[in-house]
Symmetry: C2
DNA sequence: CTGAAAGCGCTTACAG
DNA sequence: CTGAAAGCGCTTACAG
C-alpha cells in the first residue's frame, strides 16, 4: 500500500529554516527555542500535517508510554466479561489520563505468547489480569519489566497484586443473611483454585460457624462447582433442586454473581418465589445483577478502584519509586436488593 | 528504573561470531544462513535471553503490525458494553490470529485525541467502533491510513463499514410477533441519529404496515427514547405504563436488548406476566438476555462475524488489496425465547 | 538560543 | 552464504 509520504522532522526543519535539533526541541517541548523560531516550526508542522513518529522517539528514549494488559481466561467472554470488562474500562481510562496507551491481549492457553509479544513491543509495564500460572510470572520476572497482578492469586510474595478483601466480604455476606433471620444455608462455591472463590467461601463459613451454624450440624450445605459461569450455576441448582427444596434452605449464597444468576434463573423457572421462599446473594456486583428481576443482592468488588490503582501503581513502578505495597486490598460491602429483601 | 541491559542483535552477533546482518537474517527468518551459523546464532540468542526489539524493526520496515481500535461512546460502559465487548473480543481474537497486536482506546468526547495517539504510534490500520462524527473520519482520511467502521453510521460513501441488516431484522421482528397473533404493538425506539436504531424501527413499522397495521390506526404506538440504556428503557416504560395497560398492547418491541430488559424489569416489578400478558422482543442478542428470567427473545447481531471480518478486511486494506466492498451487511434472525413464547 | 554529530536497534540492498 | 554500510526518524549531550 502506497501512503502519502509522511513528512519527518527533517522536512519541517527545512521548511522552517532551522536544524533538525531545533525542530525537535520545539515539537517535543524539551529544550529552548526563541518565540520566533518556535512559531515558524509550528507553522511548518501544521502545513505539512506533521505527526511525530512515536516509534522513532521510543527507540531513542527507551520509553514507549505503552502498557500491556493481558487477560488470562480460557473461555470466550474476555473483554466482555462483566467484571473484567469493568476493570479494563477503568484501566483504559486511567492509562489515558496518565498518557499511556494500552495493548490489550487475551491469552486462552496461559501461554507465554502474549507476554512475548508485549516484551518485544517494549511496553513500559504489564498488567496481568486473572489467575495465571507461575511460569508466566517467572518469565516476566526474568525480563525485569515492571508488572503487577489484578484480581489473581499467587503465593509468590514478590508480586504486587490488587485484590478484594474476599474473606471479609464472605463474612459480611454470612452476617447479613443471618441478620435477615436465615438459618439454613445453601452455598454454591466456584473453583477452589481461584483465590477469590475460596476466600469468599472461607469467610462465609467461618462467620457462620462463629454464629453457631456449621456444615456438620446440617445448617449449611456447600456445593462445589468447577466453574463459575451462569450455566454452571444453573446446572448445579438443577442437579440439587430436590434436595434444596426438601431440606428447606431459605438462603442461597454463591461465590459470584454469575453463579447466583444461573441458580436464580433455575429457581424462577421452577416457580420459586424470591426472596419470599429463598433469598439469593451473589458476589461481584456486576451490572446484570442490578438489572435482573428480582434485582440481585450482592457483595461489591471495587472494579473502579482496582483499575485506577493498578495503573497508578504500575506508573510508580515504571518511574522507579520504591517502597510500593505488595498487596492492595479493597473492602467489599453488601448491596441489598430485591433478591434478599423483596420489592424496593 | 534500571533495567538489565537488553542485549541487542550486535551482542548476539558478537557471541555467535557473525555479523549483525547475518544475525538479523536468522532471527527474522529472512534471508540465507548456513545451518551451522543458524545454530550458533540461535544459541547465542537463547543464552542472552534475546528479545527482538519490535520498535526498532518497525522503524525500518515501516510496519508495526499493530492495529488501533477506538470505541466512541459517551458513557462509561465501553469495553464492558455487552455488544461492543463481544465485538472487541472477536477483534482481539482475529487480530492475534493474523499476527497483529491491538491498541484499544476509548473516546468519550468524540475528539481527535485517541486518533492522534494512534497515528503517532504508526498503527497499520484503524477500526472505528460505534457512531462517530464526520470530523473524525475526515481527519483519518487526511492521513491516508487504512481504516474501517464497525457498527456505526455514515453517509460518506468512501468508508468501508460493517453493519447488521437492521431493516430486514426489524421486519423479521414484526413478522414474528404478528405471526404469534399480536395486533397491538408498543415500541420503544432508541436514538434516531443512530443508524441501527432508526433502521430497526423503520423495518419494523414498514412490515407492520404491509400487514395492515399502522400508527394512525392505533395498532402501533412508538415511544422515542433519547438513549438506549437499561435505565432509559425502565423509565420510558414507567412513564407510559398506564397508557400501556389501558390500551391493551400485547407486544413490546424495542430497538435493542438493553431497552427491552429495562422495560421488562418494570413490567415484572409491576406484576405483569410475560409473555402471557405481554410478549417482549429486543434486538442485539446480548448475553444478559438469555440469562434473564424470563429469557429475552431477540434479533441477532452477528458480533462474531463482524469482529472477525473487520480484521480480515482491514488486513486486506493494509496489504493494498483492491476492490474491497464498501459495505458488508450481516443478516439478523429472530431468537425465540421465553419472553415471547413462555417456558421452553 | 541553535546546530552538527552520534546513536537508539534493527533491516536491506549491494558486493563479494 | 556472509559482511560492511547506509538509513529508518527521532533525541540528546556537546559546542558554540
Amino acid at each position: 500500500m502506497t501512503r502519502k509520504p509522511n513528512h519527518g522532522l527533517r522536512e519541517i526543519a527545512r521548511v522552517a529554516g532551522v536544524s533538525k535539533s531545533t525542530a525537535s526541541r520545539v515539537i517535543s517541548g524539551n529544550g529552548y527555542a526563541s518565540a520566533e523560531v518556535k512559531e515558524r516550526v509550528l507553522q511548518a508542522a501544521e502545513a505539512l500535517h506533521y505527526k511525530p513518529n512515536a516509534v522513532a522517539r521510543a527507540m531513542v528514549t527507551k520509553r514507549t508510554y505503552n502498557l500491556g494488559v493481558i487477560v488470562f481466561r480460557e473461555k470466550p467472554p474476555i473483554v466482555s466479561h462483566p467484571l473484567y470488562g469493568k476493570i479494563i474500562d477503568e484501566i483504559l481510562f486511567a492509562s489515558e489520563a496518565r498518557g499511556y496507551s494500552v495493548f490489550l491481549k487475551t491469552d486462552r492457553e496461559m501461554s507465554l505468547r502474549s507476554t512475548d509479544f508485549l516484551l518485544e513491543q517494549r511496553v513500559d509495564g504489564l498488567i496481568l489480569v486473572s489467575r495465571l500460572q507461575k511460569n508466566v510470572i517467572d518469565y516476566v520476572k526474568k525480563f525485569h519489566l515492571p508488572y503487577l497482578m489484578v484480581n489473581g492469586s499467587t503465593d509468590d510474595p514478590d508480586v504486587i497484586h490488587l485484590v478484594s478483601n474476599d474473606e471479609t466480604g464472605g463474612a459480611r455476606a454470612a452476617e447479613y443473611l443471618y441478620g435477615l433471620g436465615h438459618r439454613q444455608f445453601f452455598v454454591i462455591a466456584g473453583p477452589v483454585e481461584h483465590r477469590s472463590h475460596s476466600l469468599r467461601l472461607t469467610g462465609f463459613l467461618r462467620r457462620l460457624e462463629q454464629l453457631g451454624l456449621s456444615e456438620q450440624s446440617g445448617a449449611v450445605r456447600v456445593i462445589p462447582s468447577p466453574e463459575s459461569s451462569f450455566d454452571t450455576g444453573f446446572q448445579r441448582m438443577e442437579k440439587h433442586f430436590s434436595d434444596f427444596r426438601k431440606y428447606g434452605y431459605t438462603a442461597l449464597f454463591t461465590t459470584n454473581d454469575m453463579l447466583a444468576l444461573g441458580a436464580m434463573k433455575l429457581l424462577l423457572d421452577r416457580g420459586v418465589q424470591i426472596p419470599q421462599e429463598v433469598a439469593v446473594l451473589g458476589y461481584d456486583d456486576i451490572e446484570l445483577g442490578r438489572m435482573y428481576s428480582p434485582s440481585l443482592s450482592t457483595v461489591t468488588v471495587d472494579a473502579v478502584g482496582i483499575g485506577r490503582d493498578a495503573v497508578e501503581l504500575l506508573d510508580k513502578l515504571i518511574r522507579g519509586e520504591a517502597d510500593l505495597p505488595k498487596l492492595v486490598e479493597y473492602e467489599s460491602y453488601v448491596v441489598k436488593r430485591q433478591s434478599t429483601e423483596g420489592k424496593e
